[in-house]
């Protein structure tokens, strides 16, 4: 009887430990369904742990050789279950039923927002714990803090009024980045001020609102789309005067990953080039 009680006690302790929310390390393969997280895992030096990626994960180049396990935040359950990874990471958009199915199969699933710098910091810390690379994570957190502080110091020292910007995510309907979005945060560090202040997320806004706000510059994220063929856009002064900036690599700016700080630096430098070219062209007109 005593033995039976001891056994049951031990079993209860083990079960409670298994159900505990405390995050543990996750030895074994990792499936990433978010491009930003795939980049972070590689940046922390744990690319060897990645066993599969989403179809949207395309950086660094080496991850393209990995098999895919679904689209961005859309796991292909059968494929993942066949791979038997230890951990699946993605943002919070994964269908909860899919996440539960993976958990029931004994796979750890980490789903958290991945939209801004705060989320990035949390992911870095979490990955440091889960992938057993706390030193690399600490170093990345320090780098991120230093880069952000650097951008803020430059802005403060310049003392210039920020340029008013419209971020075009999609042209028709006009989808833009709202007040709490990643492009909004990125743009602020590059010296821009979003003209969309009241709407959050990625709202569809009216062309009349854009005409009324008359932005100084348009940051064009609508990859492969052309504003020139749309007659409705010709009324916007920034379009008429050629103040449209297409980011060199929009994936670096739209993904809260380790490349985002280089993306901001590029955006800042491209803005300076665009406006200095405009100013010199205007000065050359007699």
């Amino acid at each position: 009887m005593r033995r039976l009680f001891s056994f049951l006690f031990l079993l209860t302790v083990l079960l409670l430990a298994a159900c505990s929310d405390e995050q543990k390390t996750a030895p074994g393969g990792v499936v990433s369904l978010s491009p930003a997280l795939t980049e972070l895992i590689c940046h922390l030096g744990r690319e060897d742990r990645l066993v599969a990626r989403s179809t949207a994960c395309d950086w660094p180049e080496s991850v393209k050789s990995l098999p895919t396990a679904g689209d961005f935040a859309e796991p292909e359950l059968e494929r993942i279950l066949a791979m038997k990874p230890a951990l699946v990471v993605s943002n919070e958009f994964v269908n909860p039923k899919d996440a539960d199915a993976l958990r029931q199969a004994g796979i750890a699933v980490e789903l958290h927002p991945c939209d801004g710098f705060d989320d990035y910091r949390e992911w870095v810390a979490l990955m440091g714990r889960l992938l057993e690379c706390p030193r690399e994570a600490e170093s990345e957190l320090a780098r991120a803090a230093a880069r952000i502080a650097g951008f803020e110091a430059v802005l403060k020292n310049a003392g210039k009024k920020p340029l008013r910007a419209l971020y075009v995510i999609w042209d028709s309907p006009l989808l833009t980045a709202g007040a709490d979005s990643l492009p909004d945060a990125v743009g602020r560090l590059a010296g821009l001020e979003n003209i969309v202040k009241t709407e959050k997320g990625y709202p569809s806004i009216s062309l009349e609102f854009v005409l009324k706000e008359d932005p100084d510059v348009i940051v064009w994220f609508a990859h492969g789309k052309d504003w020139k063929s749309n007659p409705s856009w010709s009324g916007i002064r920034a379009i008429r005067e050629g103040r449209v900036l297409i980011p060199r690599d929009d994936s670096a700016l739209l993904r809260p990953g380790p490349r985002i700080f280089d993306g901001i630096a590029d955006l800042k430098s491209d803005l300076e080039t665009l406006f200095s070219t405009k100013e010199s062209a205007e000065a050359a007109v007699p």
């Binding site: 999609w170 009216s206 009349e208």
Partner: protein, 320 residues
């Protein structure tokens, strides 16, 4: 009331809606700022184009709905019955999801028009006897098939593509090219209205059934096909220009017919003007209620059209 007076009344309503369409919007512009440095204020220019687009789309949908309701002898008939909305939706979604929208601004409207006309032709080709009832059933089948294919495309699309498709389907007159879209649609509307006025007597006779029309010298089968094809073409052009805008083609002709009787010579132009006024007002509401985000005009027409339609329905039942 005499026909001329009715037309004048509706013309006044449409002109009032057009003036409001230019005066009101997301921002307040004083009259003194309508012209700046000798040029029209770009916001006013935008409002003029979208108000004109709303007028042409609204009038086309109302005329199309009037013809459908007359020929099918069904007051619930609407312009998209012969597969037009499903075909246009599939065409537009195909252009967006498969990346053809990158070819330029006109690619989505052209694909939508192509989809609508193809679906419509399929209905006419698939139905052998081409009576109004069988064309209607054929339209429902092809429309359902196109809608299912559209859902498959949406399922495989990325989030931005999906947003584009959904917004396109909700309808908007914000992005209309005045030269390449609005002008041809206006010409088609005028030509269709003139043709329908000339054949208004035939349309009246068809509302009593094909046999009755045949006995009064109308080739009912040919006339049915011609009228439904013309009404579908009007709907296809509007849908390619402004997406799928519901209720306008259903509610407006229904109300005009109830108010002024069933003579198509008498109600055709009032229905067109009422459709124009209705859509212009719906567009103004969409702009004013939510200035930054702007409500899709198709949502506003449904929000206004549904209660008005139910009120009229209950009022007429109570009266009878």
């Amino acid at each position: 009331m005499k026909t001329a007076r009715i037309i004048l009344l509706y013309l006044f309503a449409a002109l009032a809606a057009a003036v409001c369409g230019v005066l009101f919007g997301a921002s307040r512009i004083p009259l003194s700022e309508f012209v700046q440095d000798g040029a029209l204020n770009p916001i006013v220019e935008l409002r003029i184009v979208r108000t004109a687009a709303a007028a042409v789309v609204g009038a086309s949908l109302a005329v199309s709905g009037l013809v459908f309701q007359a020929v099918l002898r069904n007051s619930l008939a609407e312009p998209f019955l012969l597969g037009v909305s499903g075909g246009a939706g599939l065409g537009a979604a195909g252009a967006i999801v498969l990346g053809f929208s990158a070819w330029g601004f006109m690619s989505v409207p052209l694909f939508a028009l192509l989809g609508a006309v193809t679906a419509n032709l399929l209905v006419f080709a698939a139905v052998r006897r081409r009576t109004a009832e069988e064309l209607l059933l054929g339209g429902v089948m092809i429309g359902t098939l196109a809608s299912s294919a559209l859902m498959v495309l949406i399922t495989f699309s990325h989030s931005h593509d999906m947003a584009g498709v959904i917004w396109w389907m909700l309808g908007s007159v914000q992005n209309v090219d005045p030269v390449r879209q609005l002008a041809p649609a206006a010409v088609l509307l005028c030509a269709a209205t003139a043709f329908l006025l000339m054949r208004a007597n035939d349309v009246d006779l068809l509302t009593f059934g094909p046999e009755y029309a045949w006995n009064h010298g109308v080739n009912a089968r040919v006339m049915t096909v011609v009228l439904l094809a013309l009404a579908s073409l009007l709907a296809a052009v509007t849908v390619s220009m402004a997406g799928i805008i519901g209720f306008c083609g259903l509610v407006v002709p229904h109300i005009v017919r109830r108010l002024h009787g069933g003579s198509h010579r008498k109600i055709l132009i009032p229905a067109a003007l009422a459709g124009a006024a209705f859509l212009m007002l719906a567009d103004i509401l969409g702009r004013v209620v939510s200035p930054v985000r702007e409500l899709p005009v198709g949502m506003v027409t449904a929000a206004i059209g549904c209660p008005v339609f139910l009120w009229l329905l209950n009022r007429s039942r109570a009266g009878s």
